[in-house]
């Protein structure tokens, strides 16, 4: 893995290239590559050139940061002032917020360059990005395969080098799983480490913004730029000052391995992770067996809580204030009903109905309340495990990228593919997915490193070991901006 950001940043600072020139290069490549992979759904090239001009000014004044002048993409559920933000849903078609998400205002102030908004599952509900109203993005590694989801567009754009990095969001694995499918790095920080202000909510108690990059170094740089307490998000927390230190030192590191994470995992994936583990052990890390029986029930808990919160969060889309409004109605009730009927896609409707059901009086105790109780059990078992180890290693997904169209007829199997990623969201933990070899079809496999709550630095540093020891290679495809 090579740090795209460091290398570009060095070129910008040395004057080898200006941000405007770099941005033009990226724009040209986006135009050339995007039609084949459908990663971007809204281009923001005008904004990009403005950002680049500002960045060149900052660099000239010596005020640049590692991210100044470097082009990125944002998932389409991150609010950008005056720029389309649609969650890839018809119901938000044409929606341009008049405010920036905190993450984007932080990056913009540093002179980051926004190339566009990327494809995703509608309202981040899905594991393949196929529920997007703009059609699915395709996996640059193999265009007959999905990118994973829901941050599939970001994963595809970063993989194809038509964005230096991107920000995705992760509610049940939506950063890590597409990172795994596309052979890149995806980091989901601890819940609260990065402000959610401006992230259009799916499951509020689970959602977290994080970086998707070509290296662990890049993930740490981006993470450092966006983290910290935000007055606009009451659930955000302060994080340690200064840069996240990356040393890659794993001597004496206790790596937890839980059976629950490996049950039913195909041999190819299991072997890839065991090989990686062995390399860590050779460098002085120690393997600790831990038991977390509740992991298996984390999946239904996740679907109940996420859908319950979503059913409430999505109630605001009524056609009154913003986004899509149906035509041909006689009263306000009909307007709202028609707008939602036409505006929401099938998967979103399914989850709204499920969420509404589990919150309804008469069912609340049996579903939502019980799910909250089990959530506490999952949290408790994870924190018990972390008394014995520093990090947990696990597969990111029990599968590699599905064939396009496959999950439509296999929705339960698709839901089940989130089994390795959701416990992390349920407990609000930090976790990273790094590339870990590939399967017999040449499709990337992802490995997850999970840390204690707010031990984000340890997660990044543990992953950094794989980076500096060439244990992990990000996918490389033709085209895009090459260094």
């Amino acid at each position: 893995m090579k740090s795209v950001i460091s290398s570009l940043s060095q070129k910008l600072r040395s004057g080898e290239i200006t941000s405007r020139q770099l941005t033009e290069k990226y724009i040209a490549e986006v135009r050339a590559q995007n039609p084949a992979i459908n990663a971007y759904v809204h281009y923001t090239f005008e904004e990009a050139m403005k950002n680049a001009e500002y960045a060149d000014g900052l660099i000239a004044e010596g005020k640049g940061t590692p991210l100044t002048g470097i082009p990125l993409t944002l998932k389409d559920n991150i609010a950008t002032d005056g720029l389309l933000t649609t969650c890839c849903s018809k119901i938000l078609s044409g929606f341009k917020p008049y405010y920036d998400a905190t993450v984007w205002s932080k990056l913009k102030a540093q002179g980051a360059v926004l190339l566009g908004k990327t494809n995703m599952d509608e309202f981040a509900m899905g594991s393949t990005s196929e529920s997007s109203c703009y059609g699915a993005p395709l996996n640059p590694v193999d265009k007959t395969r999905v990118t994973g989801g829901s941050s599939g567009g970001v994963a595809a754009a970063v993989c194809a080098d038509i964005a230096a990095y991107g920000l995705g969001s992760d509610t049940g694995g939506s950063i890590r799983q597409p990172a795994s499918f596309c052979g890149i790095v995806g980091f989901k920080p601890s819940y609260g480490a990065v402000s959610r202000y401006g992230l259009i909510a799916y499951g509020s108690s689970l959602d977290q913004i994080g970086p998707m990059t070509k290296s662990v170094t890049d993930a740490a740089i981006v993470y450092d730029a966006i983290r910290g307490v935000d007055r606009a998000d009451g659930t955000s927390c302060s994080t340690p000052a200064g840069k996240t230190p990356l040393k890659g030192d794993v001597k004496g590191l206790k790596i937890g391995v839980a059976d629950g994470y490996f049950d039913g995992i195909p041999a190819e994936i299991r072997n890839a992770i065991e090989d990686m583990l062995a390399a860590y052990v050779r460098a002085g890390a120690e393997i600790v067996r831990v038991s977390m029986p509740a992991l298996k029930i984390a999946l239904p808990v996740y679907y109940i809580i996420a859908c319950a919160e979503a059913s409430s969060n999505l109630g605001r889309y009524d056609g009154i204030r913003y986004g899509y409004r149906a035509s041909g109605y006689t009263g306000v009730d009909e307007m709202i009903t028609k707008t939602r009927t036409e505006g929401f896609g099938k998967e979103v409707k399914k989850r709204i109905m499920l969420g509404t059901y589990v919150l309804s009086s008469g069912y609340f105790d049996a579903y939502y309340k019980k799910a909250c109780l089990i959530r506490k059990t999952v949290e408790a078992q994870l924190s018990e495990a972390f008394k014995k180890c520093d990090v947990l290693f696990a597969p990111t997904a029990p599968v590699t990228a599905f064939a396009v169209g496959y999950s439509g007829g296999n929705s339960v199997e698709t839901y089940l593919s989130d089994v390795c990623t959701v416990p992390v969201n349920i407990a609000g933990l930090p976790a990273i997915s790094i590339p870990c070899g590939s399967d017999k079809n040449g499709l990337p496999i992802g490995m997850q490193i999970i840390g204690k709550k707010f031990d984000d630095a340890r997660v990044l540093d543990t992953a950094y070991f794989a980076e500096i020891n060439n244990l992990s290679q990000t996918a490389e495809v033709e085209g895009g901006v090459k260094l």
Partner: protein
């Protein structure tokens, strides 16, 4: 058969914080539509609520002032329902863990109306219907409210009136709300049922929504009481329902029945962390509370020996009381102070609101100065009233109106001399008075007034004259 009325009130009170409950927008009343708004209070996608600490503090004040216990660990909940004035399609409120519980409000009779709970929540926007269209004004959206839920302890429209007035008074006293029903900063939902005298089980209740005047509350309750009795007497059954009250016809009508009651799907608000209030904070707020109106009234009557009628005219207006108490602390006599306030200053404070604000340009210091002159017999009450009226208008000190020579020498001895002269020089009037013609004494008052250029205290002169004539 005789029927008892059983009623409990749910009272919404807008808190007087400067900013809204979850964002920094102003709570000011009025303003052009949709100008006091931001992404948060219009429910824009991605915007998040951040709890205003002042709201929690104000609600705790309200709770302590109504003798509630405070839940120091509490959380907010989402109440989901779809209506155009509610931009998120859920109201952030409190469901199973209200901030305050188990309090009461004491009526003048000594009867206590129990307070079940007080919780915090956000107000919705307002729909404006105009020429066949409906417009939405979100200025009020996100204004902080407390909902005060009473026990079903109210047994007459009169008690309801007194309860609401007491609540208003308490909330104003502690400075958490202006409780203006006409501006909507206080609104009541009235739950009401009837039961035969002697019965032990409550009847089926109805709820009259959104009452915005005390007199309508009384009228609506009286109407609903009669209506329910009539239904029962004619062999019918009360249907649990939400009603609206028509102010023009004075009747209630059904908005919705229990069958189409909404399922609000309450669940804990994930965007706001559990609220933990340190015990010390609660104590700090408790200490900062002013003397409460009921306590003040009792003290005025029992300790300050103010007569009950006057005390009742005073205690409702905290600023007036503060003014009076300050003057008294500076040495002014209680009786003359309060009499001058209700006699003279109140004529300049005609409305409730005037008294509430007490914005006269007079200081407690100059009030004390004047009252002390009256107390010492240097200035008679008539002159004091005239002077006070001017002081309250012009804001100048006593010395601007009463010169030292005006009050010098008018001691009891001098007054006796003047009275003696009056008796000597008006034998006819004296004779008439002796013969039982009570009014004849006015001629003697007139003489004294003239001779002293109005400085004399006629009450005192009256005493002296009577003694001299010795009728």
């Amino acid at each position: 058969m005789k029927y008892r009325l059983v009623s409990g009130l749910e009272t919404h009170v807008e808190l007087a914080t400067a900013t809204k409950i979850f964002c920094g927008c102003t709570t000011a009343f009025g303003g052009s539509p949709n100008t006091h708004c931001c992404p948060v209070c219009t429910g824009q996608p991605g915007a998040l609520p951040v709890l205003n600490k002042k709201v929690v503090e104000y609600a705790i004040r309200a709770g302590l002032a109504t003798h509630c216990s405070i839940n120091t660990t509490t959380h907010l909940d989402r109440k989901n329902y779809c209506y155009p004035d509610l931009p998120k399609a859920y109201q952030i409120s409190q469901f199973d863990k209200p901030l305050c519980e188990h309090g009461y409000v004491e009526l003048e009779s000594g009867k206590r109306i129990g307070i079940t709970r007080i919780h915090i929540e956000e107000d919705a926007g307002k729909l404006v219907h105009e020429s066949g269209y409906t417009y939405i004004d979100y200025n009020r959206g996100g204004v902080p409210l407390i909902e005060i839920v009473s026990e079903p302890d109210i047994s007459s429209p009169e008690e309801a009136k007194e309860y609401v007035e007491k609540l208003q008074l308490i909330m104003r006293y502690i400075g958490v709300s202006d409780c203006k029903m006409q501006e909507g900063s206080m609104r009541c939902d009235v739950n009401i049922s009837v039961m035969p005298e002697g019965a032990t089980e409550f009847g089926t209740r109805t709820e009259i929504k959104n009452m915005n005047s005390i007199s309508y509350i009384e009228k609506a309750m009286a109407y609903e009481y009669e209506r329910q009795i009539e239904v029962i007497e004619s062999g019918g059954q009360i249907v649990q329902a939400t009603l609206r009250y028509d102010e023009r016809t004075g009747e209630t009508s059904v908005m919705r029945t229990k069958e189409d009651a909404q399922d609000y799907r309450y669940f804990p608000e994930p965007d706001i962390l559990t609220v933990v209030i340190p015990e010390e904070k609660v104590e700090e707020i408790r200490k900062s509370l002013p003397e409460l109106p009921t306590d003040k009234l009792k003290r005025y009557i029992n300790d300050l020996k103010i007569n009950a009628a006057t005390a009742k005219l005073l205690y409702k207006y905290k600023r007036v009381c503060d003014f009076a108490e300050r003057a008294i602390a500076l040495g002014a006599g209680v009786k003359n102070t309060v009499n001058l306030i209700v006699g003279t200053l109140y004529s300049k404070l005609e409305t409730e609101e005037d008294k509430e604000k007490f914005a006269l340009p007079i200081t407690a210091e100059s009030m004390a100065e004047l009252v002390k002159l009256v107390d010492g017999g240097k200035v008679n009450i008539t002159l004091a009233q005239k002077t006070l009226a001017l002081m309250a208008e012009e804001g100048k000190p006593v010395s601007a109106y009463i010169k030292p020579e005006d009050m010098a020498g008018m001691d009891d001895g001098e007054l006796t001399d003047v009275c003696r002269k009056a008796v000597e020089e008006n034998p006819a009037a004296v004779q008439d008075f002796k013969n039982g013609k009570e009014k004849a004494i006015f001629a003697l008052y007139g003489y004294v007034k003239k001779a002293t250029q109005g400085k004399a205290d006629i009450k005192k002169a009256d005493e002296i004259i009577r003694k001299l004539i010795n009728r």
